[in-house]
Every structure is written in C-alpha cells, then in structure tokens.
Assembly symmetry: C2
C-alpha cells in the first residue's frame, strides 16, 4: 500500500493523516509537491486521472482517490475506533455532517481560494467578482456550524468522528486563505480548540 | 418515519426515491413544493435548518437531512441489496465515485442552474459570467465519466450501486437545465440507457 500525500496547507491529504493518526495506522507514503506540480505528472495521472492528492494505491494496483473514500477504506481495515459511527442512525448523521461541511463550508472557501488568492493567480478562468461574493458565505457557513455546536462536544456524534476531521481541516484551510473563524463564534472556536488539542491534529 | 420529498425535477429527493425503490422500501412521505417555497416554511426549517428536501424524520424525532445520508440510513435498516457495497475496497470505491459525481459534475450543473437559468432568475447574487463559464465544465465532466464507463456496466462496482443513482439523477437534471449528454459520449449514453431502463428510474 502506498499513500500519495502532499504537505500542508493542502487540506485533503491532511484529512487522511489525521484519520490514520486517530486509528494508530502508519501509512507508507510518498509525498508529491503541489507547487512543483508533481500531482500533474504523467506517472501520477496514470494512477489518478484527476491529478489530485490524496490517493491510496493498494497492493493489487487499485487506486482509491478522494480523502473520505480513503478514510472509509481504512475504517474497513481497522474498525476501531469507529470514526464513521456505529449503527444506522449514527452512521447517517455522520454522513449528513460530512456532506454539510463539503457542501456548505468548503465551496465558498474553495471559490475565494481559486478566484482571489495570490497563490492561485496563474490558474485560468478566474472570476474575481465570484470569489469576492463568496467571502460572506464563508462566515455565514461558519455561523451555521457554530449554532450546530452549541452544547455539543463534537460535530456529529457523542464522540470524535470523521465529521470533526473534515470540519477541522476545512476551518484551518480557511484560516490559511485569510478567512479565520470570527471571534464571536464561541462554540465553533471552543470546538476548534478541543479538536486541535488532540495529538492527531499535528498531522 | 416521515420522508419529506419534493417532486421532479428536484434531483436530490429523487435519489432517495430511486434508492428506496431498488431496496423495495415504501417510505411514508410528505411532499413539499419547491416553487411554492414550502421547504422554507418555519415548520420545515425547524426540522431542517438548511431548508432543503429530502429529509427523513425518525420516530424518535431525529431528522436526517442530505440525500446520501438518508440512503445510508436505509442501507443500515435494509442491507440487501448492498448499494453502498460490501467489503472495505468496494465500499471505498463507491465512496470515491459518489464524491466524483458530487465534486466534478454536480457543481458546474448547479452553477449554470443558479446563475443562468430563467427559473432561478429571482435568486439573489447571480453572476451570469460565472454561470456561463461553467457550461463547458459540464461537458468536460461528462467526458470524464464517459471514459470511466468504457467497458463497464456500472459506475463504481460490478453491480448497481448508489454511485449509479447519483450519476443518473445528476445527468437527468443536467438535461432538464438544457445540458444533455453530448451524442459522442457513447459509453455514458449506453450506461444511461441501461440504468434508466430499471423500474427504479421511474421514481
């Protein structure tokens, strides 16, 4: 098994590293530099035609791309602790919160990153007006998660789950692009401090 | 259990109806009209603060929102046939293809719909340039799925899975907004004919 990784601030490979750390799994890995465009090399495109990290190549040659898919594979191999939940209801609520992070918070962050950030200025098809229109949506999305976290220790379940991994990496990437959590979102900030204090967050 | 549904062309409630039909599950349902804004009523917002259908309210009051989360709940209750797959590898590949539909094909369709379609003209924050820029991305995404389907009967596994449900409903919604599958994408078109011929597609 080889894990194709990229260093921070790339948020998606970090999801898998945190997940593996929570499980106590050591993944043999190869690091691809995104600034050096190593994820767009012909060799890597042959493995993942999307040209994105993370990706996990199994010993039979199968390549699993997409952060959450890799985590789900690791959950199958190492069920404990059950970070995708136990039982139909808990598993469904974790899926719901995963999707809310992906569908509500990540898109405006991605839009600001791709369409306004100096680091991505060389990308084609930038639309600065669209990027700027997404700044208030980041804060609006963060307010939704703040409200959801009132009185809760973790996002989706009564224990740490992959939903916390997704929200943590997404919030940290938002800070990286210059859109940190507003001071008055005390529930989200307290949750962020809690999950950031776990050893896995250093991944 | 009550399933909060909305009629076609809304793609997300249809996912759950197809999934339930494949499982042979009859869901007691209540229909909310999106044109009549019934999904934004105070009563429904109290159940799902996102104001979106589908949503599933359980007998204990828990509300599961998000189409794939509802499907995962139904899979837990009715494991056969296993539409989320069996075993770590197959489950991970289905997750990968689900995410590819959501992350590659659905966003440009959503952007064209929200930012250019006459039906959504009353929505605030439209950016027609951004909408138009997404038209070629729909075709580009469809080409990716066409290539992936060469020599395959189903998208993610050697049997019908939720990934096929997501791709079917997304392609059909693209047709609804005026962006059908190009004629030369023969693999995608043949797959679409196959999955559309299943009784569940009428849902």
């Amino acid at each position: 098994m080889i894990f194709f990784d990229s260093p921070n601030p790339a948020p998606n490979p970090r999801r898998v590293r945190i997940f593996a750390a929570e499980k106590g799994i050591a993944l043999p890995s190869r690091e691809l530099s995104i600034p050096a465009r190593e994820h767009k090399s012909p060799e890597f495109l042959a493995l993942n035609p999307r040209g994105q990290t993370p990706a996990l190549q199994l010993d039979d040659g199968t390549v699993i791309a997409e952060s959450v898919a890799i985590c789900r594979y690791l959950e199958g191999l190492h069920p404990e602790p059950p970070l995708f939940g136990t039982g139909a209801k808990e598993q469904a609520l974790i899926e719901m919160w995963n999707r809310r992070v992906e569908m509500i918070l990540m898109p405006p962050i991605g839009a600001v990153w791709v369409h306004t950030h100096p680091f991505t200025a060389r990308l084609p098809g930038r639309n600065a007006e669209w990027g700027e229109a997404n700044r208030p949506r980041i804060e609006e999305a963060m307010r939704f998660f703040d409200a959801a976290l009132a009185g809760r220790e973790f996002l989706a379940a009564d224990h740490y789950s992959i939903s916390d991994v997704l929200l943590l990496t997404t919030v940290d990437f938002s800070t990286f692009i210059g859109m940190p959590v507003p001071e008055d979102l005390t529930h989200l900030r307290a949750w962020h401090a809690r999950v950031s204090a776990r050893p896995s967050a250093a991944a």
